[in-house]
């Protein structure tokens, strides 16, 4: 059975196609892996019956010769996605045991292509966090540990459950979302691949909103090719989302392994931040060398407004969140606390339902939108956002793709940064820029640090140019030959 769970998505799909094993066998193996991995706390809801039912249906389709592109592939679904009849909580107490009467467009696309759902994946509450420690269901444990150490590490966040589940071979791939780095940073911390596509590639319909102008769904997968296969299925125009782009979805997998000869790779000098571990800097240099060897032209570029990205992000995202989360008022679904009057019901419901980090961001967001502060904070942040997008526009005159580290550190220990929100926010320093600019960006595992923890490199592309991003990422993947797996301790 271990053999089946260690397959890549691509490998598993081939095996199913060649009838080397059935979808039910494949799913059964993953269901067992999920059960055995409960100490990781990656899943907040296991749906084995549903998984086996879907797998049986997939076997019937494979037998009938009308299998979808993901037919029989067991996946995990981040709890931010609404899943019809299956509890969706965004890992917040405020949603109680809310069972949506609808399926998100992205998960519906995957299931429509034959994917099998193993269950719902843990995450930071409402996707607000960089360590999966704000989840109402408790933190996720990173499958990776420091060589010879026993400390439990964070898998990153907010898609910590997605990253851990993929890294631990609990599923062949997982859905995730990225508002400021929530796909890429956990991918980097767990030695997996995660891509945040161009804003508007994936529909936000049925995904619990955090910050509407920044949120994008994407996959976390074992390989660049797997990520490309999943994204091809997840993406597509959706008339139910006004910000969804009405463009064709290419076969992203066709870009994987494509020659990068002559590709101009930009290295933004502003991403060399203070206090960055030398190992990460070295890995970045290594990445540059790999791409040069693969025939890329390396250019140093400048993104001068980078240092303003994080502050701008922590204004725009909480502002939108403070409004998006107003609907959780105890009136129609989810938690409802008692109170003597309407105001008390609101206050008690939201006080009991939201965790500390969510409350902090609602307060920040409410503050920056308030009369008298709006211009100084929110409006200013929007201006910064435009400058950042212009920085990228100028960079694209010199290069086709940008190479940066994904995060300024490797995975850290649970509890290490919970006391200092700013230290936690600093983790997003390399990732928020592309959310603000709406650009596609991927994290690829590129090596291990001295402690044996995985590190990721980030590739950023032009809007809608995921193809180049996948091509460059697969060149790094190939050159790095990253084969390390977390040693099983759970």
């Amino acid at each position: 059975m271990t053999a089946l769970t260690s397959l890549t998505l691509k490998g598993a799909l081939e095996g199913l196609k060649n009838k080397a094993f059935s979808a039910v066998e494949l799913t059964t193996a993953h269901v067992a892996a999920v059960e055995a991995a409960r100490p990781l706390n990656a899943f907040v809801l296991e749906t084995p019956e549903k998984a086996l039912e879907m797998a049986a249906a997939s076997d019937a389709k494979i037998a009938a010769g009308n299998a979808g592109p993901l037919e029989g592939a067991p996946l995990g679904i981040k709890d931010l996605f609404c899943t019809q009849g299956v509890r969706a909580t965004a890992c917040s107490k405020i949603l109680g045991d809310f069972k949506p009467p609808y399926e998100s467009t992205v998960s519906a696309n995957l299931f429509g292509d034959g994917a099998v759902m193993l269950g719902k994946l843990n995450m930071d509450e409402f996707a607000m966090g960089s360590s999966n420690e704000t989840s109402a269901f408790g933190p996720v444990a990173n499958p990776w540990k420091i060589k010879g150490g026993n400390q439990t590490l964070t898998p990153g966040g907010s898609s910590g459950g997605s990253a851990a589940a993929v890294a631990a071979d609990l599923c062949l791939g997982a859905t995730a979302t990225d508002t400021g780095g929530s796909i890429r940073q956990p991918a980097a911390f767990t030695g997996t691949v995660g891509i945040k596509p161009t804003y508007g590639r994936c529909s936000r319909w049925g995904v619990v909103a955090f910050a509407s102008s920044l949120d994008q769904a994407g996959p976390i997968a074992k390989t660049v090719e797997d990520a490309a296969i999943l994204l091809t299925s997840m993406a597509g125009h959706d008339p139910k989302d006004s910000t969804s782009l009405d463009v064709e979805t290419p076969d992203f997998a066709s870009f994987v392994g494509k020659s990068v000869k002559g590709l101009r790779v930009g290295v933004p000098k502003e991403y060399r931040v203070d206090n960055m571990p030398a190992e990460i800097d070295a890995l970045w240099e290594q990445g540059v060398a790999w791409l040069r060897e693969a025939g890329c032209e390396i250019v140093e570029v400048s993104l001068p407004h980078t240092k303003y990205a994080l502050p701008a992000y922590y204004i725009v995202a909480p502002a939108e969140a403070s409004s998006n989360l107003a609907r959780y008022d105890g009136m129609r679904y989810g938690l409802r606390a008692e109170g003597r009057n309407l105001t008390e019901i609101y206050e008690n419901t939201r006080a009991q339902g939201f965790g500390a980090e969510v409350k902090r961001r609602i307060l920040i967001g409410t503050y920056v939108l308030s009369a008298g502060y709006y211009d100084a904070y929110y409006l200013k942040a929007l201006k910064v956002r435009r400058r950042i997008a212009e920085d990228f526009d100028r960079a694209w005159e010199q290069c086709d793709v940008l190479l940066t580290p994904t995060a300024p550190s490797a995975a850290f220990a649970l509890g290490e940064r919970t006391a200092d929100p700013i230290a936690m926010y600093l983790n997003d320093v390399f990732t928020v820029t592309t959310n603000l600019a709406g650009l596609p960006s991927i994290s690829v595992p590129a090596g291990l640090d001295a402690q044996g923890l995985p590190l990721g490199l980030q590739l950023i592309g032009r809007a809608l140019d995921e193809g180049t991003v996948f091509a460059a990422a697969s060149a790094i993947e190939k050159a790095a030959g990253f084969k390390a797996r977390a040693e099983r301790w759970w």
Binding site: C82, S242, T243, A319, S323, A326, R327, M331, R332, Y333
Partner: protein
Amino acid sequence: MSDGKTIKGRTGDWEMVLGLEVHAQVASNSKLFSGAAVGFGAGPNEQVSLVDAAMPGMLPVLNRYCVEQAVRTGLGLKAKINLKSRFDRKNYFYPDLPQGYQISQFDQPIVGEGVVLVERADGSSFTVRIERLHLEQDAGKSIHDLDPNATYVDLNRSGTALMEIVSRPDMRTAEEAAAYVKKLRAILVTLGTCDGDMEKGNLRADVNVSVCRPGDYERFRETDDFSHLGTRCEIKNVNSYRFIQQAIEYEARRQIEILEDGGRIDQETRLFDPTKGETRSMRSKEDAHDYRYFPDPDLLPLVLDPAWVKEIEAGLPELPDAKKARLQSQYGLSAYDAGVLTADAALSAYFEAAAVGRNAKLVANWTTNDLAAKLAADGLEFDASPIPPANIAALVELIEKETISSKIAKQVFEHMWAGEGAPAAIVEKHGLVQVTDTGAIEAVVEKLIAANPGQAEAVKAKPQAIGWFVGQVMKEMAGKANPAAVNAILKAKLGVE
């Protein structure tokens, strides 16, 4: 001599200044951002989509038809159509607002400045400048009186499209404010962009009232500096012409009394209580919400294709002002008659159907007076009139041909209203044909002169006294004698003139 604007106070004269925000429900089969149906009379919460109920992950999608209706309305108000506008969120908590915010348009509305020409009751007119029109979602309905300990919420109305039409403070009397709403309603109904049903709340007004001293308003108009005007209070959600006037009269009086007692007007939001005829404070400026408006990130800026706007413009129906001018020139009506007809689209349609080939002035009189009174008494509109326009036309034709007198026509009309059918048949059935046979009239006249020699002498001395004989002849002939013939014969027989 009062100009109608002046309000006498203890300390001198006052004037009121009025500006209105009219909320008009967009005539559309579905809501502004969801596909849910819009309708009146559905059971509670039967017309609620997942978007209207603000379920997690639901997103708004703008209804193109509602945008078209707003553009059409803007064109009807001769207003600037903004080819780029934006939707914003207005944030506040209330159970009938499931999202916790209303999607509205804050600083970039779809329609900019326009103008409405309004007629007063005396036929004179004035203009009201329109500041803007924007699209927004309506909230649901909170029902507080079904249970002493609970509030029920009906979300059927939640998400329904509203047009908020904001006027400049250009009305100076309660009558002018009501006349403005009446005119606005006529434009909207003609355009088909709002059904104008005020009883159902589909058209309602927030009325801003302030008072000032004579001359202040003129200074304000010269400078556009609001400091020349008094502090305003906003009376929310008034939904009839009568209540609008009552609320304004009461509120202006209230403000004057406070000022004359040396007090200050607090800027606040007030509610009108129709049973008491009073306004009362709802919330003060200090309690006003900070709505934290910001651009809705779920929606893209609304960009209109100028060609599409032109297309809508080309398809506009005839608007009340144009219709009024046409009725005057085409039918030779007075401005007053044309104005009365234009105020009600069904009435003018009725009139035009009846006026073909007939004396238009007579048709206008019959429709706007006799028929209008009957319909109003029965609560009917002109498009539901039991008397078809062809029968009013036939009645007027009988008068024109002197088959019946105007007086007899009144009787015929009563029979028509009673459902007896076409006027010619009624005239025949009841023997109401006018007698123009001079022989028959002469016989009656001779008989009366013979029977009343004293009266006959009196007429010779005082010709006006002939009226007595006219009355007697008419009485004798059951009103059917042709009045002109009666006069001529009497004069000849009595030897007057």
